[in-house]
Structure formats: C-alpha cells, structure tokens
C-alpha cells in the first residue's frame, strides 16, 4: 500500500475497515516490523509507526503527532477567540444581534472551501508545508483584529481567520504518512478531538488574557484588540516549530513523495462520482452537520449566552463555556470506543444504533439547556449535551470508512464540510435573528438535532442491514465483496484495480458482529481447487 502521493482518497488508503477506532498498536504477525529501521518506535515496511505512544516526542512519528494536533488546536483557538469577548466587542463596534450571528456564520464558512483546497496543497507541497503555509499566512488575519471598527470589518476578519480550520486536513494527511493504517483510526481521532478542544480552551484563554491586559491599564475597547495578539503569536510560533522540527515522511524526504509515479492513479471524476451517488454519503453529511456543526455553533454562542442569561462575569462565563469544548478530550474517543464495542456485539447495526442514540441524546440535552432557568441545571445540561454531540462525532467516523472504499477520502472531506455547513446554517437560522432569544435558539437547535438524526435509520448496507432491517437474504447481494466491488466497472475489474477493495471487503466481515462465523460462503469466492 505505497501510493503515498495523494491521489484522491489516498490519505485513507490502507484503512482496511478492520481497525478498531480505538486500537493503540498493531502486533507483529498482522503487520510485520521492519527490523532494519532505526526509529524509537517499531515501524512497518514503509517506516510508519505501528505503535501510538502518547507521551513521547520521539522524532519523527510522535513529534509529528504533537506538532500536528497543536497546530490544529491553535487554529481553533484563533477561530473562536472572539466568541468569549463578544460582550465587549459588541459594545465597541456597535453590533446588533444579526451582526454577531453573521460573524459566527462567517467564522465557520471559510473553511468549507479552504479544506477542499488544502487537500490539493498537501499533494503538491506535502503536509508540513501545507500546515505551515496555512498557519503562518493566517497569522496576519488574526492580527488584523486591531484594525476592525465596524460590523463589516468584524465579519470579514472572522471569515478570514476561519480559513485556518483547514489545518484539519493537513493534520489527518500528515498522520496517515506517519502511522500504520491499523492504528490510524485512533491517531486521527485523538488528533481531531484534541484539536477541537481549542474551541473550549479559547473560552478560558481569551477572557483571562483580556483581564490581565485590563489590569495593566488598558481600556476595555483596546484590551480586547491586544488580546488577539496571543493567538496571533501562537500561529507564528507553531508555524516556525512545524517548519524547523517537522518532516513530511518518516525518512524525512519530501521529493520522494513526488517521485513514485508507478502507482496507477485513480480518476478524480470517478472517485467523485461514486462518492456523490452513494446516498449514505449525504446522510452522513447531514448528520455530521448536527454533531460537529452544532458543536461549532455552540462554541460561538455559549459564553455570551451564560454572560447575558445568568449575569455572570466575563471570565466566569468563559470557564463554563470552556468545559463545553474541553469535553472533546475524552468524549470524542469515547464515541469511537462505544461504536467499536457495539460493532463487536451487533456489527454495523450496532454502530448505527450507537450513533443515533448518542446524537439524539445530545439533541435532547440541548433542548434542556435552552429551557434551563437556573445556572447549575444549565451547566449540567450543557455538559451532557457536549458529551452527546462530541461522542456522536467520534461514532460517525467509526462508520465512514465502511461507506466506500474507493471514495473514502472524498466522503471524509464532504462529511467534514457538512459539519461546517451545518454550523453555518444553525447559526444563521437560530442565532442571527432577534425573533428568538438565544435560549429559544438553543431549544430549537436541539429539536433540529433530533429531527436531523432520524435519517440514520435510512442507512442500509445489504451485507449488514440497517437500524430496523436485517441484511439482505440474497446470496450475492449480502456479501461485502459485492458491495465494495460494485464501485468498479468491468474494465477496471479486468485491470485488477479493485483488488484493494476486495481485501477491504474481506477484512470488513467483522462488521457482521457475532454472526461472522455463520456467514454462507458466497459462490464465486470459493477457489476451484479446494
């Protein structure tokens, strides 16, 4: 599996579908260790790490992991840095509710496009330069908060800062060059979850920085502008660290990334076609908009909500808002773990049920949050809501690798974009208008979460079933091989292009849950000489 150079979806090639979303390491017989290599961690034949050693900074694998997630974390900090300071900013810039809401929409919209471009950038320049370019070119956008004097400027700057969220793509891409595909699930999930924590950390950091600057003597309307220098400096520092300490590949060589021209590249048009025509893709685009999307929306509104509704001090509201985003530390991996456990027992049907339960529970708690009239109840509801939504994000990516083998990269990308789109939409409908108070907005957002999670019951895999339907009884249709090779036409199958899909299909039989042992052998996979 050495097609590293970034044909569409190649960053996810090698994901066999059998890796637990929570696997910490892969043992030797399954993936042989390259004993000639001289790294701190055991590596495979491509020198990708087979073990995920969290508290190590060993070059290059774990160092890459830490550089990567911290860069993504920094971009989350700067994208949501304005949110806890809105009570000050709205007075300085004379903002109305629509302006605040529009700025929130703008902050998550930019990255829909920048994430798509980032894939191409990583292909051309490698993930290290992709990450460094983005993070250092978006530093000026963070600093330009000093110049903002009205609603238009504020919205424009938040839009530009939001582009930096595309570091998600460079982060995941970079992980896949450094870690073996059997543990890439956990690695990517942890990196994504910890990066998302930045949305929570910023609610703590920014009011604290603002307070310190005020004590030193600045007036409020100047202090918040100075506070933005902190995320700006973080961008520069992380950019320099990535450039000086990072490397694209375990062996350190960028040019080899571009030299391996022997692998048959898949056609972008075809890959896109199979992603777009699979209805499951769109169900998950919608669903992720109501797990990740509502998480981003809440990051933008929750501090101001607590400040206004319960008359708290700015930094108290910030602390409470921070717990929402910081739950990502464990909630997202927990979702992946729950998905895996359900798959062991009930197969894919279990994964679908777990996702539905977690995301609907999140929606219910969001409704409770909007209706809570006392501070302790509101905090409890918010924490439960955060766990539900973030675990649902983790559970979503427990299912995504199985939707398609050929178009996995694009489907992941579309799902991610769906998250941002969902966030923009909910902020536009519920938090940009004076028709609803923020409390009512939260309640209605909860209702929308519950409603938009229902389509997961429509996701049906012929070989595994769906939430309410068992797998197909038809002998050919009920095989994993049939499902995954249906993405290739006869010509391509003749060329053997679907061989990786077949291997994936075989490995994905674990998604039958406890029924694996009792599956009938499909007729055309039995060798002629037994």
């Amino acid at each position: 599996m050495s097609d590293i150079e970034g044909s569409p979806g190649s960053s996810m090639h090698g994901v066999t579908g059998r890796e637990l979303t929570f696997a910490l390491s892969v043992a030797s017989p399954i993936v042989p260790t390259d004993t000639t290599a001289n790294f701190d961690l055991p590596v495979d034949s491509e020198h990708k790490a087979k073990v995920f050693k969290l508290f190590s900074f060993a070059n290059p694998h774990m160092r890459t992991f830490h550089l990567s997630w911290i860069s993504f974390f920094t971009c989350f900090v700067s994208t949501f840095a304005a949110a806890p300071l809105v009570p000050i900013i709205r007075d300085n810039l004379n903002l109305k509710k629509q302006d605040i809401g529009n700025a929130g929409v703008a902050s998550v919209s930019g990255s829909i496009f920048s994430r798509l471009v980032m894939g191409a950038v990583c292909d051309l320049l490698g993930p290290r330069y992709g990450c460094a370019f983005l993070i250092m070119l978006s530093a000026p956008t963070v600093f330009s908060m000093s110049f903002v004097k009205d609603a238009g400027g504020y919205i424009a700057v938040r839009f530009m800062i939001g582009f930096s969220l595309a570091t998600f793509v460079s982060c995941q891409y970079w992980m896949s060059t450094m870690f073996n595909s059997k543990i890439i699930g956990l690695v990517n999930g942890t990196a994504a979850g910890w990066g998302n924590m930045g949305g929570g950390a910023t609610q703590l950091i920014m009011p604290l920085v603002y307070d310190i600057i005020r004590r030193v003597g600045a007036t409020p309307f100047t202090a918040w502008r100075i506070a933005f220098f902190i995320p700006g400096w973080l961008h520069i520092i992380m950019g320099i660290l990535v450039l000086t300490l990072g490397q694209d590949l375990p062996d350190g060589n960028l040019s080899s990334l571009q030299k391996k021209g022997n692998v048959a590249k898949d056609k972008f048009g075809k890959v896109l076609w199979y992603a777009v025509t699979n209805y499951r893709t769109w169900v998950f685009v919608l669903l992720y908009g109501y797990s990740m999307g509502v998480e981003l929306s809440t990051d933008n509104v929750i501090a101001e909500y607590f400040y206004d509704r319960f008359n708290l001090k700015l930094h108290t509201a910030g602390i409470i808002a921070a717990t929402f985003g910081m739950a990502n530390l464990v909630a997202r991996p927990f979702g992946g773990y729950a998905s895996d456990k359900a798959a062991q027992l009930f197969g894919m049907r279990g994964r679908l049920w777990v996702l539905w339960i977690l995301q609907t529970a999140g929606g219910a708690f969001c409704i409770w949050l909007g209706r809570a009239n006392s501070l302790p109840i509101a905090i409890l509801a918010m924490i439960l809501f955060s766990i539900g939504a973030q675990a649902a994000c983790g559970a979503t990516f427990g299912i995504i690798p199985f939707i398609s083998r050929r178009s996995l990269g694009i489907i992941s990308g579309l799902t991610g974009a769906g998250g941002n789109f969902g966030s923009g939409l909910t902020q536009l409908i519920f938090f940009s208008t004076s028709r609803f108070s923020t409390a009512a907005g939260l309640t209605w957002m909860g209702v929308m979460i519950v409603a938009c999670t229902l389509p997961v019951s429509l996701v049906h895999f012929p070989q595994w079933g769906s939430m309410f339907l068992p797998p197909s009884k038809d002998i050919t249709m009920s095989t994993e091989e049939h499902y995954y090779s249906s993405e290739w036409n006869e010509d391509e199958k003749k060329k053997g292009m679907h061989s990786a899909s077949l291997k994936f299909a075989e490995n994905s039989r674990s998604e039958r849950g406890k029924r694996v042992a009792s599956t009938p052998t499909p007729p055309n996979t039995t060798p002629t000489h037994v």
Binding site: D91, K97, Q98, S146, K149, T219, F221, F229, I236, L375
Partner: protein, 203 residues
Amino acid sequence: MAPPPLLLCFILVLASFSDTCFAIISFSSLQRTLVVTASHPQRLLKAGEDKITVTWGLNQSFPAGTDSAYKTIKVQLCYAPISQVDRAWRKTHDNLSKDKTCQFKIVKTPYTTTNHTSEWTIERDVPTATYFVRAYALDTQDQQVAYGQNTDAKKTTNLFEIQAITGRHVSLDIASVCFSAFSIVALMGFFFAEKRKGGKAQQ
C-alpha cells in the same frame, strides 16, 4: 466522563446556593419622586472627553416624609429605546434584578434633602448609543425605592448621543503590521532557503 467538568459543576452548584435572596422589585412599583436634569454640550458627546452635569433632588410637590427611607442615590446612564433594538443584552425588564437598561454608574452618593449636582466625565468604556439619565433612591439594604429621570415616561425627550472611542491605537496598528510581515517573510524565507538547499543537494 471527565472528572474536571463534574467537579466544576459541583462547585458551581454549591456557589449558587450562597446567593442571598431578595424580594423582586419591579420598576412599575417605584414612584417617580426625584427630579433629574442633565446638562451637556449640545452636540455629539465624546466618550473620555466630554462632561455631563447631573442635578437631582426631591420633587417638592410630594408630601414631607416621602424620602424618609432614602439612604443613597445612584445615578446611572441608561440606554434609550432606539439603542435597545436588536440588542437583547440591553433589554428593559420590569423586574429590576433582570433589567439591563442602565449599565453605567455615574455617581453613587448618600442622599441629601437639598439638591445635588455632580459633574461626570464620560468613561472610555461607554459604547456609541443614545442615552438618558436616571437616578434611583436606595434604602439601607441597597434596594430601589424611588427613581427620577431626565426624560419622559416614554423615554423620548432630552436624549443625547455619545460617540465611543474606537479602541484603536496607532502603536497597535504598527505592531500588528510588523508581526504580520514577520510571519509572511519568515515563511517565505524558510521555503526558498529549503528549496535552494534541495536544489543544491540534487546537483
């Protein structure tokens, strides 16, 4: 579940119990017994520069003894209705503990039976908006018992506009440009230096 959020939740629950409870005071129950006037330059006022002179006193047409409970006078700068549109964080509530109309304190002094005047320089954290002045009479428990304001009941007369400071500074702008330039130059520097090194190695 992560322990820290739960612990925080627990602490906050305890903290909330430490609030003392007051009876709900509604604005409509207060009598307008004070006469308040505010004088200022007749133009757009600038925060941080211009002064407002506020005068207040008991309306003599009320019977003697009306002010027996008044211990302190708190004079505040309040938002006019036009500045409350689409801004729920400035909303007027009848329940005074929820009311957000008056967010800036001009002066708080002990009550005197004679008329009192105070000059106030507009603070630099006052936002751009249209305002009026209101004075609350407080009793020994710091609860509102009466009020007076320089505008009418519908809050349409004697309003004045204040222009906030921008919060921007030339030094801040320059620092911003410098750091931005540094970021771009550093990036380009690294990129081209590595390209040149890579080119040399290949030769």
